[in-house]
Symmetry: C2
Subunit: 346 residues, 2 copies
DNA sequence: ATAAGTAGCGAAAACGTTTTCGTGTTGAAA
DNA sequence: TTTCAACACGAAAACGTTTTCGCTACTTAT
């Protein structure tokens, strides 16, 4: 087992100083052709690689990006990571991942762990619990310490930082408008409680679309699911709620769901009730994940382009990190949503 | 913007030495109660946290685990990461993720980037291209440099390291046996080319089950899909291949697919051909992902317990890292698979 | 022959810690 | 009064780099 070799060891072996070795390896003109050759040959032979940690300490930058997301077993978030990783790698950065599991304290702890020198900046999406408690001190503190943050998807306006979002309202509006144009008269929305910002905005888009077409919204058509239901155990009660939605609205002919799971579950209930899609009821979801693509019928959905979100977030962060001038000017990038039409709509 | 404070700054402010500050913060008895109080109060006020990079350099360990996986937008792999992260975090480790995208060179580059001091050890699953080329020098080299590796799922015997696998053959055997016991007489397998080890072992399990029940395997019932097809673009040709499989075997009444996507696609084709599940044909997949759970009919599948695999891998690695004695004794842990029965079988 | 310039190299500082080893001061014992 | 221990603290090394500065010896020009 030959341990990693250091400059010091090379220096000792070749009977030169550490500085000489360092310079020789970096092709400094200070060093004679002779010694340069000798050192480089030796280094190559022993497969020398500079120690990243030492470099990080010296340069006071780690070339590493910290990601904090609520969960990773989730198509959208893993797409985003994939996008971040792609551009990070291309620009010589590594990516270190922390999971908050939607918990405020885990989010705080994870950020503190990483903020102490391990990374140069954060890309994150806020945990639900944090959104609920509206306690954002950990974000402001890290920013105050000079560590940049880029937020994506779940963001809050209070915090001054770069953001990458989709226009949730616009995306929802597109979807609901599509349903209306397809002839739906009684369109329901299955959404989350309002403190989840994306749920709020998508609901807003739903209402805007209705208004555009002079349709009066009906309270009974708006189902705000307690988001605990997303944890798969509570799927049953979600189903029940949706079933009640159908029973209360016999003429229901269109559903807009703010996420894949709600949409898929709605399809399941509809099928159970003997309804055909898209003939009897048309359904559109949000987030183009693997479920939408393989559902029966395949699900029309609003794609958020998670990969692109990740790429953009990484670009913003790295640009910020590598910017010379220290002006604090923050940007909010909106990634266009796209309505992907499949078989669940006419 | 108040930058992170260092020992040196505290020392200067309080007019003591750096060593005194360090000792005071670590409650050394060398330091008088008085100074200790003073230092700790000051440190707390300025929210002092030791710099991780400096600690890493000093201790020559980073408390960080490197993960290299072929892709992250994949239910199984993200489950594994989630498991790794859980125990890593509990034991004070961070997790840094590299993606190989199934490419040999990206795998090598990523490992080299991380091996130079950034991490203490690797947890990885081998890229397909690497398996194909059978070039494992980067693994042996990192191990030789004293950096431990734990492989999971896609492993190779040549490399001496800890491994966490599922008994693919056994899992497949369970599934196929189930189909036989459920009355299937003509059972097909949809699998990958042999160089993907999991594909090979699952095929082997299929054959073993048949043999157990004295059923002769038929070549026409074994569909080895070129794994390029997994990249979602090639879904169409996958469908065609499966359709041909049905046409060539009119009495086909059971299908075992070595992954979710193959299973779902088989269901799609069956439905197109007017076959009912589970009445006309029963289907079992491998990997219990989100697709299986929400397919129609819901898909019976072999669960690999990705989370548990990740947890176990992390335990093995950290135990190895924190072991005092340097004995090189490696373990291969087999995580039991479980047949999750749903509606696609009788 | 002397001054000046240059080529080639090494010493040392710096990044932020922890830890070992001194060292000076105090108080008590001899 | 001398000696010794205990106490409280500081200096310095170490982790592995990069970089600035200084030094020596040689070459060239005057």
């Amino acid at each position: 087992m030959k341990k990693k070799i250091t400059l010091k060891q090379i220096a000792r072996e070749l009977d030169v100083s550490i500085s000489t070795v360092s310079k020789a390896l970096r092709n400094s003109i200070e060093i004679s052709e002779d010694t340069r050759q000798k050192v480089q040959a030796f280094a190559k032979l022993y497969n020398y690689r500079p120690n990243n940690i030492a470099l990080s300490l010296k340069n006071r930058k780690t070339k590493t990006i910290g990601i904090i997301i609520p969960e990773i077993v989730h198509h959208f978030f893993s797409k985003v990571i994939s996008g971040i990783e792609a551009v990070a790698n291309k620009r010589g950065y590594n990516v270190i991942v922390g999971l908050s599991n939607e918990s405020f304290s885990k989010e705080v702890i994870n950020m503190e762990m990483l903020a102490n020198g391990s990374i140069d900046g954060f890309i994150l999406s806020i945990a639900k619990e944090t959104l609920q408690q509206q306690d954002y001190h950990h974000f402001t503190e890290t920013i105050n310490q000079g560590m940049p943050i880029v937020m994506f998807d779940r963001v809050v306006n209070e915090i001054k930082c770069d953001k990458v979002i989709v226009d949730d309202a616009e995306g929802a509006k597109k979807a609901v408008s599509k349903l209306i144009e397809n002839g739906c008269k009684h369109i329901a929305i299955i959404t989350t409680k309002d403190y989840v910002s994306v749920g709020k905005y998508r609901t807003q888009g739903y209402l805007e679309a209705l208004e555009n077409y002079k349709i009066n919204p009906k309270a009974s058509l708006i189902l705000k699911v307690d988001d605990e239901l997303l944890s798969e155990d509570h799927l049953d009660s979600l189903e029940k709620e949706i079933e009640i939605l159908f029973q209360k609205n016999k003429k229901l002919d269109g559903i807009f769901a703010v996420n894949e799971l709600y949409a898929i579950t709605a399809m399941k209930v509809a099928r159970k009730l003997g309804l055909n899609m898209p003939e009897d009821v048309q359904i559109i979801g949000f987030t183009d994940g693997v479920l939408s693509k393989h559902a029966v019928p395949t699900l029309t959905t609003v794609s958020q382009h998670g990969q692109k979100i990740g790429e953009k977030a990484a670009e913003l962060l790295i640009n910020n990190l590598e910017r010379e001038d220290e002006e604090d000017t923050y940007e909010t990038v909106v990634i266009e949503t796209e309505l992907i039409e499949r078989a669940s709509t006419k």
